[in-house]
Structure formats: C-alpha cells, structure tokens
C-alpha cells in the first residue's frame, strides 16, 4: 500500500531524511519510532504531499506522491502533530467541511460525518464548539477529521502527545479499531505505544532507519542473547559454577543472595533456548528452583541501544537511560534544520 524508496530530504546542508526505504502492507499498522527531530514528521509530510522530497520516491496505493499528488491526497487521512482545527466551528460543521474538501460526494457526507463521529466517540459533542472541548476531545476531532472520507491510508503524527493516561488509552484503542480496513502509519517517541498498537516498527534516528522489524521480532532479534532470570534456594557460588558449565551459557550474573535465596540472570548464546537444561541442572544439583522466566528486553532498551553510541552494556539502567535521553536530545539539536 505504501512504498518508500531511498527518500531524501535536505534543508541546505542538513539532511532531515537520509535514504529511507520501507513498505507497509494493506491493513497494517506501522509504528514510526524515533527521538524528537529524527525525521518522522518530515517523512510523513512528504507522504502526504505537503513537502516535496529532495530525492527518492514514495508511492501510496500505486500513485506517486509527487507526480500524482491529487490522487494520493484523496486516499490519505492525515493528522498533523497539532490537530488542524477551526476552533470557532462546531464538531459536526467542521467535519462536514473536511468531508467536502476531501471530495466526499455530497449525498454521502452526512453518513460519513456521523460514522467518523461514532468511531471517535464524539457523537454527544457534535453541536459543541471545538474551542470548548478538552484536549483529549480535540485530538479525537483531529482523528475523526483524518478518517471522515474513509481513506485507504491514515497518517497520524504523534496522536497521543499531550493527552492524559485515560485519553491515551482511548486513542490507542481507537487506532487499533481502525486497522484492518485502513493502512496506518503513526509516529511516536513513546515506546510502549508501538508495542501496544503496531504490527511493525521502523526505528529512525537522525534521518536514517536504524531498525525495521515486526514488533515481536524486534525484541527477539535485537536483544543479543536469550536471558533467563532464576530464583533458587542454595549457595550462590556453587550455583554459578554448576550453571556456567552448561554448554551455551555465556554468563551468569548473581544479582542478590540473601538467606540462601539467590537471584541470578543467565545469558545464553543468541538463539539458544537453554531453559530446560538449566532447570534440570539446578534440580539435579540439589537446589530448589523457585522461579524461572525469560527476560524480554523492552523496546526501550533496544531503542537506547540503537539510537545511542554507547550500547555495549546491553541493559540500560535507570541512570543510563536518563543519560541516553540527554543524548537523544542532543541529536535533535544536531539534526534540527537551520
């Protein structure tokens, strides 16, 4: 549905988007993840025809976004970072206007507007002036605006930014409901959002794609090796020795051992699932196995690894995360257009 090839956008010397390529299949939700200033908004603006690209091609539903801009614009619903609202209008009048300029046939407009308001749960507020609505409702009007002409492709730029936790939940479930019949690209710098809503994720930093995977795959692919966390009753040192001797175990890290209760994290070679061997070894050696679970690196950790230079440690602690965030911000300052 969406094909982007070698897309480049330069502002003078600076490259806001640098050779980006990706594809989105029909009905998929693609998450566009990256720190502020990574080039997400620029890429989306190119896809919507708002900005011309410096190089590369982008096609939506088979139409080139530069050559056949009008065809593309008919098929796209777009929510910019700040919802484009005429705040002096009522919700229904505003959506009717949007339906008109998007080229919805006049006879279908009332139905489309009602449907968009139903999906965004705005029906009760339809006669209210937009300026009297709360931030969350305004955002929903913004989303309703993007779906009112029933577009094939919906592009949402940071749809949950500035909302409170309840509103975020509502917006996310609204987006999930839209998937299937619509192809969706959404950008965010919030990682759990991608984990919760997206099928696939493209991680972008300083205008480049640093990783592109399915959300599930990304976690397994990038975490380096498998990690297993165990809690065992017994002596720490002999436990370490007996586990370390299992073939495929890279390291054993004792996290705490008090009152003969040992918590340890075991890292194995990439792709090796040693949980069965570890369990039987522990039991055979006479320890009591209290707990065992696979540790999934959160997207947050992966993100930090990918977007910061220092990613040797693998796991990022709270302090490191803060530092990485600073780094990300520096990166923003660097990539910001002059």
């Amino acid at each position: 549905m969406i094909e982007v090839e070698h897309l480049v956008k330069s502002y003078g010397q600076a490259r806001a988007v640098n050779d980006i390529s990706f594809k989105v299949e029909k009905g998929e939700i693609l998450g566009f993840l990256g720190p502020n200033g990574a080039g997400k908004t620029t890429t989306m603006r190119i896809l919507t025809g708002y900005l011309p690209a410096t190089g590369g091609t982008a096609r939506i539903a088979g139409f080139d976004v530069f050559e056949q801009s009008m065809e593309v614009r008919k098929r796209i619903g777009y929510l910019p970072e700040t919802p484009p609202l005429y705040t002096d209008m009522t919700v229904s009048a505003y959506l009717t206007f949007v339906a008109q300029i998007k080229g919805v046939p006049t006879a279908e407009i009332p139905n489309r507007v009602a449907e968009a308001m139903r999906m965004a749960t705005l029906a009760e507020r339809k006669d209210e002036l937009i300026k009297r609505l709360s931030r969350g409702f305004k955002q929903r009007v913004g989303i309703a605006q993007a779906i009112v002409h029933n577009p094939d492709v919906i592009i949402l730029d940071e749809p949950t930014v500035g909302l409170d936790p309840n509103q975020i939940k509502e917006v996310r479930s609204l987006i999930k409901n839209l998937a299937g019949q619509h192809t969706i690209i959404l950008s965010t710098h919030i990682l759990p959002e991608v984990e919760m809503t997206c099928d696939r994720v493209v991680i972008i930093n300083k205008g480049r794609i640093v990783a592109a995977h399915t959300t599930q795959n990304l976690t397994t692919q990038l975490k380096g090796g498998e990690r297993v966390r165990i809690q065992v009753k017994g002596a720490a040192e002999s436990l370490r020795a007996s586990i370390a001797s299992i073939e495929g175990v890279k390291s054993v890290e004792i996290e705490s051992s008090a009152d003969s209760l040992v918590t340890a994290e075991i890292e194995s070679e990439r792709g090796a699932d040693l949980r069965a061997q570890i369990a039987s070894r522990i039991v055979n050696k006479g320890f009591d196995l209290l707990e065992m679970r696979a540790v999934n690196l959160s997207l947050e950790d992966i993100f930090m690894q990918l977007t910061t230079e220092e990613h040797a440690e693998g796991r990022v602690e709270a302090k490191g995360a803060a530092k990485a965030e600073e780094k990300a911000e520096e990166a923003v300052a660097e990539t910001a257009a002059p």
């Binding site: 502002y11 603006r45 919507t48 025809g49 708002y50 900005l51 011309p52 009008m70 614009r73 008919k74 796209i76 777009y78 910019p80 700040t82 919802p83 484009p84 609202l85 005429y86 705040t87 002096d88 209008m89 009048a93 206007f97 949007v98 008109q100 300029i101 998007k102 080229g103 006049t106 605006q145 257009a337 002059p338």
Partner: protein, 263 residues
Amino acid sequence: MKGILAIYRRELSGYFVSPIAYTVIGFFLAATGLVFYLILSAYMEQSFRMQMQARQMGMPPDIDVPMMVIRSFVGFSGTYLMPLLLPMMTMGVYAEERKRGTMEMLMTSPLTEFQIVIGKFFASLTFFALMLAPTLIYYMLMSPYSEPALPWRIVGAGYLGLLLLGAVLIALGSFISSLTENQIVAGVVTFVVFLLLLFLDMTTRNSSSAMAEVFKYLSPLQHHETFAQGVIDTSSVIFYISTVSIGLFLTLRNLDSMRWRRA
C-alpha cells in the same frame, strides 16, 4: 467548483463568528453614518446659503445637493475609510490559517491552491459587500426628501466603484497575509501599504508632472474618483480587475512556493 464553494462557505461563516469582523462592521457603520450626516448637513447649509444669495441676485440656485452628497460620501468611504478598515478584515485570511495549522490540512487535501485562493477571495469580497449594503439605507432615508430626485444610477456607479476598490484592497491584503504567520504583522504591513497608497494619491492629486501622471494611473484611489463622479470608466474597471488578478496570482505563487521553502 465544489472545493471553491466549501472554502467560500467556511471562510464566510468564519467571519460571522469572529469578533474582529463585528468590530470592523460596527466601526464602519458608525463612521459612515456620522460622515453621511456631516456631508449632508454641510451641503444643505451651503445650498440654503446659495439659495439666499440667488434670491438676492435674482439668479437660479446652482447646486445639486443629492449628487454632491453621493460623490463626497462615496469618495470619502473609498479613499479614507476602506484603507483604514480593510486591513483588519484581511489580516487573518492566511496568517491565521498558517498559525492554526489548518493550512497543512488544506494543502494535503485534494484541493488546488487556486481553489483555496478563489474561495477565500470571494468570501472576503462577499463579507465586504454585506458590510457596505446597510449604508444604502442612508439614501433610502434621504430619497423622499430629495430635491432634485436622487440619481440612483450614480449611486450604483459609486457603489460599483467601492466594490471594485474593495476587491483590489482585499486581494492585496490577502497576499500580505499569506506572507506571514502573524496576523498582527500582516495587519500592520497592509495598513502601511494602504497608507502609502493614500499618501501617493494625495501628493500627486494636484500635480501634473509626467511622474505624477504615472502614479495617478497606478493608484487605485485615483481610479476610484471617476466612479465617485458617477462615471463607469472601462479603463478603470480593467485596471481594477487586472490589479485583483495580480494580487491573487501573487498569493497563489506564494502558497505554492511555501511547499518548497518550508523548513
């Protein structure tokens, strides 16, 4: 056409929920009401005096009060009131749209820039016509007492002139509004430009050097004079229509170039 109509309707209804628009209408009607009253009473006094003189000299009085009132009123509104008030009407047309972020929506909708510009222009012009219309009541009130009878054809020519001049100022003001995101800046710049036009008009009015003739021809306010006399001069109509076209064309080009300049 549907796109133009959608933009037109939204823009026009936008005026009617805007406090600025009501302020402009209110001020315009108050000012025109006062000016009309002052002009009318001045000419009546003059005609009264001339009648007295005429009686003494034994000559017929030589003043057409209704005609003079129309001329002065149309001239004054066009030359002084409109350049003062229209910047407030046009300053937000594009600047607000850019600031609100709705420009991004318009530009990513299947609308051409031409549809946007035309829709907005005619909405502003309609609003201006609606603002002008109530002043016709003044003539209706005057008409029964008018001696000689009120020359409605001259009223018509004068108001056509006001509409055309308004169209020029709107096209110019909208273009200036499309250059910035800040409607105050747009308003002030438009105002200054109109003041310059007025200044140019006043300094060249009594001069007949070659330079002055050129400026006179290029001044929308000078062309307005002929309409205020009740004359529909084709060359002035063409001048107005081409000036409007230039303003709209510049706006169109500017919207188009915004895509390429945007950082």
